[in-house]
Structure formats: structure tokens, C-alpha cells
Amino acid sequence: MAPPAKPVTPFVEARGLTAAYGATRALDGLDAIIGRGEIVALLGENGSGKSTFLRVVARIVAPASGELLLDGRPLAALGRRETARRTAYLPQATELVFPIRCLDLVLQGRAPWARGFSSDSPGDRDRALAAMRACDVEGLAERDASAISGGEKRRVFLARAIAQEAELWLLDEPTAGLDPRHRLEFLELLTRVHRERETTVVLVTHEIDLASDLADRVVLLRRGRALAAGAPAEILRPDLLRRAFGVESRIETGPDGKRRIVPYAPTRL
């Protein structure tokens, strides 16, 4: 069952975007459009540039050339703080060296809004606690963030994105390392808050089924470029997956009527 086609207003637009780490080219002329209010899944093999794209949009990595527009304006023309007020980045894993309370981690989401990045006014605290309530992690507020589980950490970071009041959420492999129950719970939470807040979500994932179930649109990346982009049913096909991942796959229909893509062997050349 294809999702109803929504009219798409571009919120993020990349044209000929390139980015490099030293001599390694991670993005090599990427063209992509993320529509306002969409959930877009970025799929591609390791090193295809998915995470780099998120990091460029989050301004962690500076692009080498090309155009990147946020809400119609060049990202470079927007202040860093302005960008951070509108985009929240959820890292794949954060290694915490120093102790930090979960509440303080969520309060950091208010930093782009605060004078001198010093974000713990009563207003900030109210917003942070409300966001933690929405993500069901209010009880962790006083706990040390390095002592909570991976699933809890994802929720805390999602709460932080809500507290940040960002319109665009960039999620780097949000389900990696989660057990099935925490994975499902996190995805439920993500879809719910996405719907309530009408945010735009870009998520990097290796789960083809997740992209198929959750995303309005899929962008398939290969070697720093977009190989194909469109509705999941159009893009998640054996021929395109063979080109993107070098795998053979077949389509199955589950007992629930859902379409499943099952990769079963590496493509032999």
C-alpha cells in the first residue's frame, strides 16, 4: 500500500554537493531534495556519503563545493546558531568521558537559543523537562548519561532535539545496536513526535525494511552521489539495490500484506 503522495516543498536542497576528509571524497556531486515534513531515509553502502551528508547539513563538516539550501536560503549565509536552532543532529553513538546528567544533556539543546550558549534558565528547564516527558525519559533527568542503556540514550537525544525546537531532525542510524523491543519503541516514539511536531526527518539507516515502512521517500546513495530517489516502493527494487549494495534480493509479501525486501546473496561479478 503506497502512502498518499504529498505535495513536496523542498526544505533541504543539495545541488552538486561535495565534501572531503583529507584526500577522501565522501560526497561527490550529490543532488538531493528533502521535502518539508517528510521522513526521508538515506540508504547506501558503507562510505557512500550518507552520514557525511547529515554532518554537512548539521555544519559539523564544511562542504568543499556545491550548493546547499535550507528553507530556500544558502546554509553558508545562515549563522551557525541560526542553523542549530533549526536543525538537530542525533549522533549514532556518543562516547561520554565526563559525567553529565541526562537533564543537562537535554538542556544543551537549548544552547543555540541562549546568550553565550549558557542554557539553564527556568524557561529552558521547563522546555527540557517537557521534552523529556514527551519521550518518557523524565525519570532519567538526574541520572548520569553515561550509565544509561543505548535505547534510553536515543530517547534522551530525541528529547534534546524536541527541546531544541528544531524543524529538521538528522538521525544517524537511530536503530543501530538496539534490541528488537527498544528498536520498535524508539520508532513508535519517533513517528509519534514527528507527526505531532510536523518536523522534517532525515535518517541514515542500513535497514531496508525500516526505510520501506517509515519513510515517505528514499534516497539511494552510491559513491557520494544520489543513485535514485523516490517513494520506497519505486526505489527499493532488486535492480537498484544490486547497483547500490552489490546484493541480490527478492521481494516477499508478509502475512500482514507488507512488502519485504530480502537480500540473500552478494552479487557475483
Binding site: 576528509y21 555544519r59 556518543t94 568521558v97 544543551q108 543555540p112 550558549f117
Partner: protein, 323 residues
Amino acid sequence: MRGRFAAGLAAAAGLLALSVLLGLSVGGVRLSLPDLLSGSGAAGETARLVASLRAPRVLLSALVGGCLALAGAALQALLKNPLADPFLLGTSGGAATGAALAAVAGFSPLVSPAASFAGAVVSSLAVAALARRGGRLDLQRLLLAGLIANAFFSAVLLAVFSVASGQTARTMLFWMMGSLADATLGKALALAPYAAAGLAVLLAFAARLNLFAVGEENAAALGVDVERSKRIVFLAASLLTGAAVSFAGIIGFVGLLVPHAVRSAVGNDQRVLLPVSAVAGAALLVAADAVSRAAFAPAELPVGAVTAAIGAPLFAWLLLRNP
């Protein structure tokens, strides 16, 4: 935050007051606390006189300790590494080399802070460049690069001693091991503006450093200009280290240990940690200097030996307590 700030600062100030009393009363002539505090009668007057002679040294110790602890705390947050310290990262060694080279080249001692600062900056940049891997500072490489820098600077310093005359070499050797024996009020007053400038810059960046303490990417994604902030904090830490070294030589462990201890008491909010570390660092070094004068009086130990002797076991204990 305000509660922790007030409590932490009050506790550190209390320690500082105690160590100042200790610093004023111990030495070649031991003063009794009642005489020192009342200042009346013949004994009181003598006590006042001796204390006024010791005061510049206590003041200089406090400033040097504050600078080193601040520099260490800022570097630890910036590099997201609890082992960062101006001594371990080779900043102190670079500063000492700068000052020693300026001295043998015949420059006036007034140039010494500038030469130390230059040495500290060169050393920080070299260590950072060595530790950079794929565009980011690698934790293990950073410590190794610091080790290499320290070895190199020791070699240069030893070469400088060999060519210096006997008396100069002895003075320099003491200075290299960390000594506050030549303290004057003038030196303390000369160091004060560097300390104040470093403190002001780091406090202005304290909230940004909180974002760095979770990671550089974290700071970038929350709107911080990472490269600019890193440069400014590195320079401020180098300035503090350079100034401290030029007046007191190489004193280890203060920058490493004080932020550690303060963090376990007040947490890792840099807006609290930095100022409390500055005061606690002042208290530690004043006390260490008092010990250096009292332990084998009338002979004096280099204060760097005292901080290392207190610091190493204390650090080992901290490591065992928080695995």
C-alpha cells in the same frame, strides 16, 4: 548551578585561606597563628614583619597555581580528555624552553613572559598537529605527542644549561624544577594581568566548553564555531601556562589534579568548574610551597617536586576510586 557554584567557591576559598595562613607562618622562622593574626606586642610585630616578607611569595604561588589549574581544566574540557594538562601535553616544557632561550640570548627578564607564551603556543600547535589524524585530535596520539614534545624540550633545556655559567645554570635548574624562591611583589603583580585575562576569556567560553566536553561534533551541531573556539581556548590556556612558567618554572600535576578533584566535588559544569578550579589550584600551590619550605628547613625543595610527590599518589587514588 548557582548553589553548586556558591558552595564550591566557598569551600575552595576556605582552603585558600587556610593555605595562606600556613604559607605565611612556615619557613625559616615559624610563626604562631595567634601572633600572626593579632599582630600586637613584640612577637606580633615580628610576625607581621616576617609575614610581609613572605606575602609576595604566597601571592605569586596563588596566582601560579590558579593559572595552571585553569589551563588544565580548560584543556580537559576542550579535548574531552581528563588527562589533558599543560605539563603532560608539553605546553609547560615549550614555555620553559622559550624563557630559557630568551635568557641565554641576553634578553631582559621582562621579555620572559612573552618568550614563555611564544614557547607555549609553538609547543601547543606542534603537539596538536602531531596528534591530528583525519581532521580530528586523537586522544592517544595527543598524549604521545606531549611525551615527544617534553623529551625534545628537555634536551634543549639541558643544552642551554650546559652552555650557561655555573651560577646561572644552578638558578635555571631550580627554576626548571619549579621554584617560587625568587618571588617578589613585582613578579606577582606582573603575572596578575595574564591570569586575569586568561580567566576572563575562559569564563566567556565556559558554556561552549560544556558542549565540547560531550564532543567537538556536539559543539558544532549546536552552533558553536568549533575552530575559532578551539584556537581561542588553546591560546588562553597557553597564555596562562606561559605566564605561570615564566615566573615559577615547570610545576606539574596542578593542572591535572585540581580539575579532577574539583570535578568530583562540583560536577563538570565548566561555568562552575573553571572558577572553583582556579581558587583550588591557588590553595594547592600555596600549601605545596609552604611544604617545600618547611619539609627540610632551612633547605628548600623545588615546589615542583612537592606537587609531584603529593600529586602522583593522589592521582593514583583518584584512578582507583573512579575506574
